[in-house]
């Protein structure tokens, strides 16, 4: 017979790896469960001697092993050299003298009754991909959904997610960018009205409930361990996930051993595509759900645009394009490669229309401005690549200023173009690449879009 305990502690800790000193529960209750063996303590940082008096460190929360991401200092608490991980610092520092806890007791049971309230129907392409994904999940094998922007890839996930939920399984949808999570949350809440859903991103408060469906930025998965029966990574090719090995490890750590990680993207890297062909399964959708082709980029030279903007003058072609959008009352996004240049251009655009605003990753009003564009309170936004994916605004028109810049690789350009013509009411639109010279990436992006439109795929 075990003593009764607060089930909220189990529901919260199961699948998580948490700082002992920062749980939302009283210390005595945690201590009692530790004594009972339901909670296990793990050292924050594992240090092993290496050659030449150097030490190798491992962060037990984010599994970072990169020596440049650790700092050792003289600690006043443990009175000696103490090492902490800078990789996951923002979630509360983990150092040598920090204790992490995991749940070892009985597992929570998740309900098996879940309504799916989504009213739409899948196109035959979507249905096929959805069925194939379920088949892979049954085999516990990884699956890649390679579906063009606007093909309705979230809806493809509804049947497999519903099936997992009704089996009492726990599911996570992870995305590198918080914007994607914010866009997914209301759609999933609407689709699964009876399911306990939690959205986790920097600044969001965790609920105390045992959420069966978790939406999380990939960063948040640092704090999970062996938690899910399946993780779906949306936009796996987006920064920072694609360049950050610790985020990739975090996803692998978050699934239960032997459970699959699935990927969904319009622009898989060659590496992901070939890996999935070898070790998993791939479904390809090269048609948008409304059946119209993808917008093809138009290249327009904008010589020395940077110099002109820095001198306080907007290139005439850019003024004309913007005025045209305003006259036709079409919402627009203009992408820049550099915040500084965008902010110098902002007052120049405001001479055309004072309501035009700019947004970037750490802009305090980023969410509000995007919402204002949706509500038609703002006519258009200047943006960095932060809005290249995840956002859907009916009839939006898109231009890139400086498409030749390195940050606009093939994937980024295809994603940016993917913002255009998404709704069935407005299936076409402008996709302009203003440039100071045509790059391979621009040519490749155009070639891939042409190929997809002709029914082909990248192999």
């Amino acid at each position: 017979m075990t003593k009764p305990f607060n089930p909220a502690i189990r529901d919260f800790l199961d699948g998580r790896i948490w700082l002992r000193m920062h749980t939302p529960f009283p210390c005595e209750e945690i201590d009692a469960l530790l004594d009972a063996g339901d909670i296990q303590v793990i050292k924050g940082i594992e240090s092993k001697p290496s050659f030449l008096n150097q030490k190798r460190h491992l962060c037990n929360r984010c599994e970072n092993e990169d020596s440049t991401r650790f700092t050792t200092f003289n600690c006043a608490k443990c009175e000696g050299p103490c090492t902490y991980c800078r990789q996951c610092l923002k979630m509360g520092r983990v150092s040598s003298c920090t204790e992490l806890i995991i749940w070892k007791g009985e597992k929570p049971e998740y309900p098996t009754n879940h309504t799916i309230a989504w009213q739409g129907t899948l196109t035959p392409h979507q249905q096929k991909a959805s069925d194939e994904l379920i088949e892979s999940q049954n085999k516990r094998a990884s699956h890649l959904i390679y579906a063009v922007c606007g093909s309705g890839k979230t809806e493809i996930l509804f049947p497999p997610i519903h099936k997992l939920l009704t089996e009492g399984k726990r599911v996570c949808i992870a995305a590198p960018r918080v914007d994607v999570i914010l866009e997914l949350e209301p759609r999933l809440r609407a689709a699964f009205p009876d399911t306990k859903i939690e959205a986790l991103y920097g600044g969001a408060k965790p609920t105390m409930e045992a959420s069966q469906l978790v939406l999380a930025t990939t960063h948040q998965l640092y704090r999970f361990r062996h938690a899910f029966d399946a993780v779906f990574v949306d936009e796996a090719d987006a920064f920072p996930y694609k360049a950050d090995a610790t985020l990739q490890k975090a996803v692998q750590k978050a699934v239960k051993p032997g459970s699959p990680v699935h990927y969904v993207t319009a622009t898989p890297s060659d590496k992901l595509l070939s890996e999935m062909k070898k070790t998993g399964f791939v479904s390809i959708i090269n048609r948008r759900y409304h059946g119209h082709p993808l917008p093809v980029p138009k290249f327009i030279p904008l010589w020395n645009y940077e110099k002109q903007i820095r001198k306080g003058k907007l290139p005439q072609k850019l003024i004309d394009w913007t005025e045209n959008r305003l006259a036709r009352k079409e919402p627009f996004l203009i992408f820049f490669h550099h915040i500084g240049l965008m902010e110098e251009a902002e007052p120049l655009f405001q001479l055309i229309d004072p309501r035009i605003r700019s947004v970037h990753a750490s802009h305090p009003e980023r969410k509000e401005h995007v919402q204002a564009l949706r509500n038609k309170e703002l006519p258009g936004l200047l943006t960095t690549t932060i809005l290249e994916r995840g956002i859907t605004i009916p009839n939006v028109q898109v231009a890139v200023v400086g498409a030749e810049q390195q940050i606009f690789d093939k994937g980024a350009l295809i994603q940016i173009g993917g913002r255009v013509g998404r709704s069935a009411d407005y299936p076409t639109g402008e996709f302009i690449l203003f440039h100071n010279g045509i790059t391979y990436a621009m040519d490749e992006a155009k070639a891939e879009i042409d190929k997809l439109n002709k029914g082909g795929v990248r192999t």
Binding site: T71, F73, N74, K77, Y84, R86, L89, R93, S95
Partner: protein, 202 residues
């Protein structure tokens, strides 16, 4: 190496200055460095003979201090090492950091002012003891004025008839510095100045 604040790659310039260790490498990138705003004020005060502050308390500085002190990112102690060294390149004056209460120091796991001086390789004397754990920002002006001295001199230390320079991260109301200067002067210091990294608006 990456910028300690924004993680972008630092332009590496293996110049002869670096090889000869004449120039000190920066831990942060030029963009982050430019985001801090110099203020360079020198003020006189009735107790502290001169207070020098280097930067304003703008948003990037607020974020820096948050990451350093509250997220406990000790690695950031050296971000302003060059600036502190330049400011403190004086001959015989004795540098004294404003201490933390011992209990607070254990909670934070480090004393942030001492770490900044250590990272800048500036020798200092640990002369003061903080007596209570009160936080200045939570007090009204009346409460601050009525407070008994926050500091005492460490037993067995020898305060000479010399100039002492107090170091603190931020200057807000000046109460902390005045208390520290008072005990030093009572113990025999001839002159007490102060250097703070940041000058906050009152």
């Amino acid at each position: 190496m990456n910028c300690l604040l924004c993680e972008q790659k630092l332009a590496s310039s293996p110049s002869w200055q670096l090889l000869l260790a004449i120039e000190n490498t920066s831990l942060i990138c030029e963009d982050c460095s430019k985001s801090f705003e110099r203020v360079d004020i020198k003020e006189e005060d009735d107790v502290v003979d001169q207070v020098t502050s280097i930067y304003t308390y703008n948003e990037p500085m607020r974020e820096y201090l948050h990451q350093f002190k509250f997220l406990q990112d000790v690695a950031l102690a050296g971000v302003f090492a060059n600036e502190l060294r330049t400011e403190l390149a004086r001959k015989d004056d004795i540098i004294v950091p404003i201490p933390m209460h011992p209990q607070k120091k254990i909670e934070r796991t480090f004393a942030h002012v001492e770490e900044m001086l250590t990272a800048a390789r500036i020798p200092f004397e640990d002369l003061l003891i903080k007596k209570n754990t009160e936080v200045m920002g939570e007090k009204t002006r009346e409460e601050r004025l009525a407070m008994r001295n926050l500091f005492s001199i460490k037993p067995g230390s020898d305060v000479k008839n010399k100039t002492y320079i107090l170091i603190d991260d931020i200057y807000t109301t000046g109460t902390t510095l005045r208390h520290a200067a008072t005990v030093l002067k009572e113990a025999g210091a001839e002159r007490v100045e102060a250097v703070t990294l940041i000058r906050a608006e009152r």
